[in-house]
């Protein structure tokens, strides 16, 4: 085993991306994500990579599109308002069927909001985000280790299905330090000859990367191909974690990312008071673990969704349950984060 290093989430995901072979990173600074771009600025030149601080988020995401088209592992990162600016480019990358990784270290919104951690970009992240009929796989880390591990995973998923992949973290995970272990080796990049410009296996052929299809029939067939890929992703890439289900709790809490960490602590505290609750934590937010949540909720009295927003994932929870049992929602806006004591109190009241 390699040694444990104490790192901020922002730094850990950057280091993991570099170790996973990312050599082209383009971004524009924004709090609470800036340590990521800072780390890349420091490290990329040392590994012979390209670090470029673009003139804007829009420029950065289009540089990612260009680099992806050339068949290299490429990434960008930002925080909520900056991710909004990137949406046009993400839509183009999805339509172009190119692999790329985008990290969103979410902050308070809407508008300029604030720099505190929030989970308010759930809808944007899980419903495509930009214009057009598309989705992007979304990974939701809840520890610094998981945040780091998601960098290579995101590249693998991106290349396997030729799609942009989003890692949806938040300001708390970006800023906090926790021990991280980096594996000895990372899976290599997939042969880009299937998509990259100038890399076609048949020397007489060329890949053409284009998202303009004037003929509606052609755009229809292109979109259908996208959705066939999405079906494959739904079959293969759903990820989730459960906690304390072995106690056969009557109440199941659904929560992800930073909020799920606080829920775990609250569940531990409630256990000591003789109240059992379980946690269902989606790790992929798209594809959402609908079937797994439905099964986990079998036999419970209700499902309580806990989020750091006014209720977004809650809608996916209700889609998953499809009327199986009642649901409730507990949330906070403004970048406020529950403390475990506070959340345990709220959950205990809802249990009685």
């Amino acid at each position: 085993m390699t040694e444990k290093i104490l790192m901020k989430g922002n730094e850990a995901v950057a280091e993991a991306a570099i170790r996973a072979g990312c050599r082209h990173y383009f971004a524009y600074p924004i709090t609470p994500q800036s340590e990521l771009i800072e780390y890349m600025a420091k490290k990329m030149p040392k590994v012979g990579g390209t670090f470029l601080q673009a003139e804007s988020e829009v420029a950065a995401i289009n540089m990612v599109l260009g680099a992806a088209a050339c068949g290299v592992r490429t990434m960008t990162s930002s925080s909520s308002p900056g991710i909004s600016l990137k949406q046009e480019g993400i839509s183009y990358i999805a339509a172009s069927r190119l692999p790329a990784v985008i990290v969103n270290v979410q902050r308070g919104g809407p508008g300029l909001g604030n720099i505190a951690p929030m989970q308010c970009d759930y809808f944007q992240a899980t419903r495509g985000g930009g214009h057009g009929d598309y989705y992007t796989p979304v990974l939701s880390p809840s520890t610094v280790q998981e945040f780091a591990d998601m960098a290579p995973l995101a590249f693998e998923i991106a290349e396997r299905y030729r799609t942009p992949v989003l890692i949806l973290a938040d300001g708390m995970l970006g800023q906090m330090m926790e021990p991280v272990v980096f594996p000895e080796s990372y899976p290599p990049q997939r042969d880009p000859s299937d998509w990259a410009l100038g890399c076609h296996k048949d020397r007489k052929e060329n890949h053409i990367i284009n998202t303009l299809f004037i003929d509606p029939n052609l755009l229809d067939s292109k979109t259908r191909i996208l959705f066939e890929v999405y079906e494959e992703i739904k079959k293969n890439e759903v990820r989730f974690e459960t906690y304390n289900l072995e106690s056969r709790p009557k109440i199941l809490v659904a929560s992800t990312g930073t909020a799920a960490r606080v829920v775990k602590s609250a569940i531990d505290a409630l256990k000591e008071q003789g109240v059992e609750m379980g946690l269902f934590r989606p790790i992929t937010l798209w594809p959402f673990p609908y079937d797994a949540l439905h099964q986990a909720a079998a036999g419970v009295d209700k499902v309580i969704t806990v989020e750091l927003n006014m209720g977004q994932m809650e809608q996916d929870v209700r889609l998953a349950l499809n009327g199986l049992c009642p649901t409730e929602f507990v949330g906070k806006a403004g970048g406020l984060v529950f403390t475990p004591e506070e959340l345990a109190d709220i959950l205990r009241k809802k249990a009685s």
């Binding site: 444990k4 104490l6 709090t31 609470p32 720099i115 300001g171 708390m172 800023q175 906090m176 330090m177 926790e178 021990p179 960490r261 606080v262 829920v263 775990k264 602590s265 609250a266 531990d268 984060v337 529950f338 403390t339 475990p340 004591e341 506070e342």
Partner: protein, 181 residues
């Protein structure tokens, strides 16, 4: 066992570094740790604090309402956080810059260490945080001083051996004061 520590002070006093050295030592000793700084549009001279958790079990929430230990390097930090210290908890304050904490639970142990004065005696006023670190380790025992010293050695031995010696002396002096307190 889980120890929750909040370190707070003026920006530049090194409250965050106290926390970082504590949790790094905890990690090196095989414990589960988290370090969560307050971050925001602060300037030098503004306030800074960090929430640290050192535990035998995986750490759920890095955020907490109430802590076992408060390290207050200045008066505003003491005023702001003293009441959040748990029953039978500990407040380590900077006697050079703080008065007594108001209205704390009688069960809370308050140790006022003249951090700034001791640091001046050591020859580096900026080492006040290291004095606090020495006292903190002595009083809580949640990590070994040796682990922190080795960590500091790795960090500074080549870069600045004189500073390393000052820091080690500052920690030793903090520990000594705490033993006698």
């Amino acid at each position: 066992m889980t120890t929750r520590i909040l370190c707070a002070g003026f920006g530049g006093q090194g409250a965050l570094l106290i926390g970082k050295l504590m949790v790094n030592a905890g990690m090196l000793e095989g414990k589960h740790v988290t370090w969560l700084p307050s971050y925001g549009p602060e300037m030098r001279g503004g306030t800074a604090n960090v929430m640290c958790v050192i535990s035998d079990k995986p750490v759920g929430s890095p955020i907490f309402d109430r802590m076992d230990v408060l390290v207050a390097l200045n008066q505003p930090s003491l005023d702001k956080f003293a009441l959040q210290t748990k029953e039978n908890g500990l407040i380590l304050s900077n006697a050079s810059l703080c008065g007594d904490p108001a209205r704390v639970d009688g069960s809370v142990k308050v140790v006022a260490v003249p951090l700034t004065e001791i640091a001046e005696e050591v020859g580096n006023v900026k080492a006040a945080n290291m004095v606090a670190l020495g006292a903190l380790i002595e009083l809580t025992g949640c990590v070994n001083r040796q682990t922190v010293e080795e960590d500091l050695r790795k960090m500074l031995e080549k870069k600045n051996p004189a500073l390393l010696e000052q820091n080690l002396t500052a920690m030793e002096r903090g520990a000594k004061f705490a033993r006698q307190a």
